[in-house]
Amino acid sequence: MLQGPETRASLIGKLNQPASEEVWMEFVSLYRPLVVRMALAKGLQHADAEDLAQDVFAAVRRSLETFEKRGRGSFRAWLFRITRNLVVNQLTRPQGPVGSGDSQMNQWLMQQPDRQNETASLFDHELRRQQFHVAADRVRSKCEPATWRAFWMTAVEGKSISTVAASLGKAEGAVRMAKCRVFARLQQEAQSLSSLWETEG
């Protein structure tokens, strides 16, 4: 679970405070794979996708200095917002491969992505996927392995309740309920991730 105090501007203060460093590490761990995946989905070669991720997070990091001045919402949400804008803008530009384009960083930060934009919706879709993958990872570690397998085999792999019940040696009702209860936990986990990182506090 993500824990820790809500990171408002007043709490965060300067970057060199350990609390904000932890948020930063957690933030990059969470969203870097997402950025890379987005870039790959937009047709970049792997090395270029990695480079894009570096540029994005370097720019985010740089703009941390300005957080205090503009910080209204939570620190996490702010991180998320500028990252999303950066990625969407970078990947919306016409040609596929992307130079470092650093001089445009400021512009990107200012720009609001177009809601209708195809890249933006791809981002949001990938983000949702990301949330569920991360949530799944967390929920799985807290479940009985058999419960998790009952869920995974029925809900994700699409196997029938009876097959799974037979293969796990469990009652069908138990499998069916395991599926529901894990699903519910998963949604809760995804929701808490989303409200911690992605919504204005």
Partner: protein, 745 residues
């Protein structure tokens, strides 16, 4: 709480719970009687239906399945969560993550205490994984004994040349039989992977010993050094050079403390497999000889230099040439005098200091000439130390002329050129007497004169005189293209010094002149590009949608048809290939295909939106030519195609990418950046080099502190997080991983 829908208390299955209870059940909020409720619901289909409905309220089962389905091949990042249900999925994810492929070549084993099987060996444990090979502790089932198996890293084994080289070197190493050399028992290949088998030596390495117990006494160091020299002489007699003598390769057998040298000749085998070009070395080459670090031909005397470094380490607990970065170490090996042993450890006798310093001569001619001589000498001293009354001290050492060699003063240097080495991107100076050889990627040479009279200077490229000038006190600047230049200074000067990439020429104590190379390449150039993208950045255009390389032929797809490419804008393809290779090194194929316009710009040719092509039909052999339009769309198609068609020939860079994608754990608490990178470099055996110039220009100090603590994330992620914090980024280029200041907006 319980809604009795059925009245008959005996028909328990008709008894249902209300929505609130079911919701609590679904969300694990049941406080009381949860077992009873669970038992009921799990056997009551009606309740189950309600729960299922509730679970689906915000997100359908179908959407969930879609969200959690593996997005095709995109969860490649080492840190991606792997929330897969089955073990096979996990294994697949692990393989992709790059780290656990250390053992991916193992076959399953039936032995419970074995992690897998390789040929006839039951593998018990992976002892270590360097960049080049994997060492495993294993049990030889047919001979019934324990052994160490060393396998060439699978990613290097895809090159036939590398495999042959590994096998050949391992076989010649196997021919060395000596009590102080770990014997190689078997050299073989299994499933296309060459491997060798050695006995398990029970005991610490010299590295561990010194790290654990601190510096050794003189007598202990002499004993060990004598045995190393003895082992080396057996190999040298067979014409085999170890090439990687370092404390970690010296094993001290438990109880008897017999010294055994391991990994004979393998350095050469892996050198060839991984790094074909000179000048760039994986890991921290602290024990390398100058000629080795410089990429020159080496002979057995290189091992003697390394022996000197190892002795230095034994007596002081540190290697003689330490610096914060690999490049720093290389520089120091080439240029610096090590600090005297006696300054660090006053207990070291003068004669021992002299022996070590002679071994550490930059010039191989001034070291001892053979290892048996060293072994003899050390044994003599050992006997004397053990019993001074019975054994006489060996002849005192002649003082060496070491100091005269390294400072570069005077003209008698002959073939012992001190040098300054930097990896490809930084330029490369070598100087001797009054001639300075300068290797540059094109830039400006700035010469400042401090002399009272004008300083006559001649700049040549090959036999051609590029410029002949007289430098006044105002100084002079000369534009130079890439290549090697000889800068000749006419007049009396008697010393040189390298300071921050500048050559300072001295006469006595005064600076006569200073030569600095300023380069438009790197960040400066990038900045310019950023400001005026239209003019200074070559557009990403191409007439082709695909480019392939078959032997000397370049095949292109132009308007959906494949041709052999003969000429672009009057440049014969052979010339173009050659020039691209010169400019871009190993990545030339990628650059020629993807950055065609940039390549042409480099050659002084600035095409607009079209180029003149000469193509040969593959079927009829007919040659066609004409103007071809270049488009972004073509180039993009080619770029995407390249991701696939260039995957075969694995380059060093690809290998680095694999390592970068692998998982790692780091903990650094306010560690200076340079040290931090050195550690990562060493740990993963990849060259991560800090571009100090770039940092300096950006006003970042190279010892800015890094704090990071992460477990099981990709090395990329670690670099990303740590570097972004200090305003830096990395790139994999020219066979190194370069860390530089991220350009500012």
């Amino acid at each position: 709480m319980i809604a009795r829908i059925g009245d008959d208390q005996h028909q328990r299955d008709r008894l249902h719970y209300d929505r609130q209870t079911l919701d609590d059940f679904l969300h694990d909020r049941l406080a009381a009687r949860s077992e009873e409720v669970t038992r009921h619901i799990e056997s009551c289909e009606d309740c189950q239906c309600v729960v299922e409905d509730m679970a689906e309220a915000n997100l359908s089962w179908r959407d969930l399945a879609e969200l959690l389905a593996e997005p095709e091949g995109t969860f490649v990042n080492g840190c991606a969560a792997s929330p897969h249900g089955s073990a096979s999925d996990d294994a697949a994810a692990d393989q992709r993550s790059g780290q656990s492929d250390a053992a991916s070549f193992l076959q399953p084993s039936r032995h419970p205490d074995s992690i897998g099987r390789f040929a006839r060996y039951e593998v018990k444990q992976i002892l270590g994984r360097g960049g080049m090979g994997i060492v495993m502790r294993a049990f030889d089932t047919s001979l019934g004994r324990h052994c160490a198996v060393k396998v060439l890293a699978p990613e290097l084994a895809c090159s036939a040349a590398a495999r042959q080289r590994f096998s050949r070197e391992a076989k010649s190493a196997a021919a060395v039989v000596h009590p102080h050399v770990v014997p190689i028992q078997t050299v073989d290949e299994h499933d296309g992977l060459p491997y060798l088998v050695m006995p398990v030596v029970d005991g610490p390495s010299l590295q561990q010993r010194v790290e654990h117990d601190g510096p050794l006494t003189a007598i202990e160091a002499v004993r060990i050094a004598a045995q190393i020299a003895d082992g080396l002489s057996a190999a040298h007699q067979q014409g085999l050079v170890h090439r990687d003598i370092k404390p970690a390769n010296i094993l001290l057998e438990n109880s008897v403390e017999r010294v055994q040298i391991t990994d004979f000749g393998l350095a050469r085998a892996v050198d060839d497999a991984s790094m074909t070009r000179s000048g760039v070395i994986a890991g921290t080459p602290q024990y390398m000889s100058p000629e080795q670090a410089h990429g020159d031909a080496i002979d057995h005397r290189s091992d003697l230099f390394s022996l000197g470094s190892v002795m230095y380490f034994m007596l002081t607990g540190r290697s003689p040439f330490r610096a914060e970065t690999t490049m720093g170490v290389l520089n120091r090996i080439g240029n610096d005098d090590p600090r005297s042993l006696r300054e660090i450890n006053a207990d070291v006798p003068a004669w021992l200091d002299a022996i070590v310093m002679r071994l550490l001569s930059k010039n191989p001619d001034q070291r001892y000439q053979c290892s048996s001589e060293v072994a003899q000498l050390l044994k003599g001293w050992q006997a004397h130390l053990l019993d001074p009354t019975r054994a006489d001290a060996p002849e005192p050492q002649r003082p060496t002329s070491l100091r005269a060699n390294v400072t570069g003063s005077g003209r008698k240097i002959g073939n012992t050129l001190p040098w300054f080495l930097a990896a490809g991107v930084f330029g490369f100076f070598v100087w001797a007497a009054t001639i300075i050889i300068l290797q540059t990627d094109h830039g400006t040479l700035r010469i400042d004169s401090h002399a009272d009279e004008n300083l006559p200077i001649v700049i040549r490229k090959g036999d051609e005189v590029v410029d002949e000038l007289s430098v006044t006190r105002e100084g002079a600047s000369i534009q130079v293209k890439s290549g090697s230049y000889i800068v000749e200074i006419v007049g009396d000067v008697d010393g040189f010094e390298v300071q921050n990439n500048a050559v300072v020429i001295k006469r006595g104590a005064t600076h006569v002149a200073k030569i600095v190379e300023t380069k438009p390449a790197g960040n400066a150039q990038t900045d310019v590009i950023m400001q005026t993208p239209d003019r200074s950045q070559p557009p990403k255009l191409s007439p082709f949608t695909r480019m392939e390389f078959q032997g000397a032929q370049v095949l292109v797809t132009y308007r959906s048809e494949q041709y052999e490419l003969l000429e672009i804008d009057r440049f014969a393809i052979q010339d173009l290939v050659k020039q691209t290779q010169e400019h871009f090194g190993r990545s030339w194929k990628k650059r020629l295909s993807e950055d065609l316009v940039e390549v042409l710009w480099k050659l002084g040719n600035f095409p607009g939106e079209s180029v003149h092509l000469k193509l040969k039909r593959l079927d009829s052999g007919k040659v066609v030519s004409g103007e071809a339009k270049m488009t972004e769309a073509n180039r993009h198609a080619l770029y995407r195609d390249n991701a696939h068609n260039q995957a075969e020939g694995r380059s060093v860079e690809d290998y680095f990418h694999t390592v970068l994608a692998g998982n790692t754990s780091v903990k650094a608490d306010a560690v200076p950046l340079d040290e931090f990178l050195d550690k990562l470099s060493e740990q993963h055996r990849i060259p991560i080099i800090l571009d100090r110039n770039s940092l300096k220009q950006a006003g970042i100090t190279s010892n800015v502190n890094v704090s990071i603590e992460m477990k099981n994330v990709s090395l990329r992620m670690v670099l990303n997080i740590a570097l972004a914090k200090v305003g830096c980024k990395y790139e994999v280029k020219n066979e190194i991983i370069r860390v530089f200041a991220a350009p500012k907006p």
